[in-house]
Symmetry: C2
Subunit: 416 residues, 2 copies
């Protein structure tokens, strides 16, 4: 974690602050409880804004969509949400009509406990695909979660949405808008089935900024394209992925300070949301199933940004590249093969590739490098791969992880 | 291996026959020798037809193409080839102008030894990307290979093109055309970097049928789409993939018996080439890096054949599905997620899924199955997954393998 934020005018909510989570912004509380779906640990999370919040969400592009997403897609239509309820352990996917009833029931139970309309509740689930939810356990869990809502409950919520994650994922950030301190907070979970394709995991972001639902949606899509859509763990896209944001406006009471059109204040908000989203997103491959290393793949010199993204993701997503990094094997040829496989415009004989500060390939051919320096780079926990296509000016960054035997072990016996 | 061929009028060249390889058809000889590129074993193969043969080839669709492919693409333009030279150990890719000179030199040296034009030689390489070929070793190897050409040399050639393969891949087939016995033979190699996208590995097919280059190309494209383009080991597409066929016509001397237009004889030839190609193609994932099981994914009920292919490949290529089969975990939900990820038209609530003869999902929801029977199916070496989308009449089959920790170990230390 950087101490200093990269964006002028923003800074991270530091370790000295009590809360780096969804409850960092004003007026948000959260909780995480155990209702007994997972074999152990907390498995039901609730995030609540004390006033209705502008909201936006992106959902998986997988054609097989879990029941909670179908309910949430309806509830977010008006751009207003006040609570998010999430269970882990079961995905409530491939559960038919019953699954949709169960997801609607989760919204209704939450609405009743919080005394808000059920259309103000987003529902998310993550876990095994197929089995029906244990709705009685969830009912009990929702009651307990509502009773335990607290401004310090973000950490519990972050834990309660975990499946194969080995650690909770949280972040927060402050910026100044209209001379007032604005806070952004978020939690996320991975750690398998992570791959580009709209939303790619669960992430929930909160802010006390005052912004219209339309601009909030615009900002979220922009950030997701540069963060959650640029991470890959295993090339598999989940049926349950969702990124949602709530903006309750409680940092300000002045109506003239609502962001309702693009401009300087929107740009500042966008930059901060990008940074927060990237922070959360990177935590996912860093904790990818079986991962021992975070790979940051930066592509520049592409003709257009979408090409740059495809190239970066193709490299970060290649099993062969990932396995080579696991083995500390500087197999740059596999990066060339992955680039060529992306299918976008490139000139192989123009490509330069760096591992950290070491030039590995120049003009598409192997360069002379310092083996000792490269060996030390390959052993680091975070490795940067810079690729210059030398065709245009577009660039993009993707994040992935190495592929270890442990990934296979985790996924060979997940269900049973 | 089936004893009886599935196609009326054809039968496999059985174990009683001496030769089930590229040298099974009349007039073909082959050899495989060691020239010293690989750490051990044979690493240079030669296939030769005693007369010029009609020829066709498909090459990788990767934008990064190895030097030998650039040379071979030129040499095959006129549809006539008489020899194929292949080295393993080094891919001659990302080797710049020098690499192209080296590949051209391989063709020239082979042509000199065989006293044929250099444009009658196809060149292929497989192995590590990046380093330059050891052209002096290859020169010596070509001399030795030419001196060792033999009608029983197919097995040596099949060994000499192996990289991480654990066993050679060969097949042969007989059929009757115009009342005469026609033979098809082939060799192939995998075993990593295997994924759909035109040609996906090295395969060389020979036949003594008399067929025009145009129809041979048509037949090859048809077969490749149903065989080599339907296998996946790890989602990575090689820079060096090539499938080539030579038809020397030596089974007949009657000019009226050349296949020069579509019709009954062409259809028989096509069916036999499909069968031979599928036989060779299936051997690749069956011997995939670290694979312990062959997965056959049959999709029916798709709207169009291309959709069916995409669905079948998405399932066979999913890391999560593959890892589950390695662990004997009947995680059918992951198959649903993989289908949804393919992006083609589907109705999740119409999908039926079978493992072997056991119905696992009916109408998109979990079915009641016999756990003991399913457990026994999951432990087999070849597992059939049948998926019925219930939308249309198109179908397709893909072949893949499970994902084991051994795959990662092989690929973590391939280069060093």
């Amino acid at each position: 974690m950087k101490k200093q934020s990269a964006i002028p005018g923003t800074h991270e909510v530091g370790a000295q602050s009590a809360i780096r989570s969804v409850t960092a912004p004003k007026g948000f509380s959260a909780s995480g409880v155990r209702c007994g779906i997972k074999a152990e640990g907390k498995d039901l999370a609730l995030i609540y804004s004390e006033v209705p919040a502008a909201a936006a969400a992106v959902f998986t592009s997988n054609k097989v969509k879990a029941a909670p997403l179908l309910i949430s897609e309806e509830h977010i239509l008006d751009g207003r949400i006040q609570a998010i309820v999430v269970n882990s352990g079961l995905a409530n996917c491939c559960t038919g009509e019953q699954g949709i009833e169960d997801a609607a029931r989760m919204a209704k139970l939450t609405a009743t406990e919080l005394n808000i309309p059920e259309t103000s509740v987003l529902v998310a689930s993550t876990g095994k695909i197929g089995p029906r939810l244990h709705i009685e356990k969830i009912e009990q869990g929702i009651k307990e979660a509502a009773a335990n809502l607290s401004s310090s409950g973000g950490a519990d919520a972050a834990r309660a949405i975990m499946t194969t994650d080995t650690r909770p994922k949280e972040a927060a950030l402050e910026l100044e808008l209209f001379g007032r301190k604005i806070t952004l907070g978020g939690i996320a979970k991975g750690a398998g089935m992570i791959h580009p394709g709209l939303a790619t995991m669960l992430a929930f972001i909160t802010t006390d900024a005052l912004i219209s639902p339309e601009l909030l949606k615009k900002a979220l899509l922009h950030s997701v394209d540069r963060s959650f859509n640029m991470i890959t763990v295993d090339g598999d896209m989940s049926t349950n992925d969702m990124v949602a944001i709530m903006a309750n406006g409680l940092a300000t009471t002045a109506e003239g300070e609502e962001i309702t059109y693009p401009g300087k204040e929107f740009d500042l908000f966008q930059a901060a949301l990008d940074e927060l989203s990237i922070d959360l997103a990177k935590q996912i491959p860093a904790d990818g199933e079986g991962a021992t290393k975070l790979l940051e793949v930066r592509v520049k010199g592409a003709l257009i940004e979408e090409d740059a993204r495809q190239f970066a993701r193709a490299v970060a997503g290649s099993n062969l590249v990932k396995a080579a990094f696991y083995g500390c094997d500087p197999n740059v040829g596999r990066i060339m093969a992955a680039l060529g496989q992306a299918g976008e415009e490139m000139e192989p004989e123009e490509v330069d590739i760096y591992f950290g500060d070491q030039l590995m390939f120049r003009n598409g051919c192997g360069a002379t490098f310092d083996p000792a320096k490269v060996a030390s780079i390959m052993e680091q926990k975070e490795i940067r791969i810079d690729i210059d296509l030398d065709l245009g000016k577009a660039e993009a960054t993707a994040w992935g992880c190495d592929l270890s035997p442990e990934y296979v072990k985790i996924n060979a016996h997940y269900r049973t």
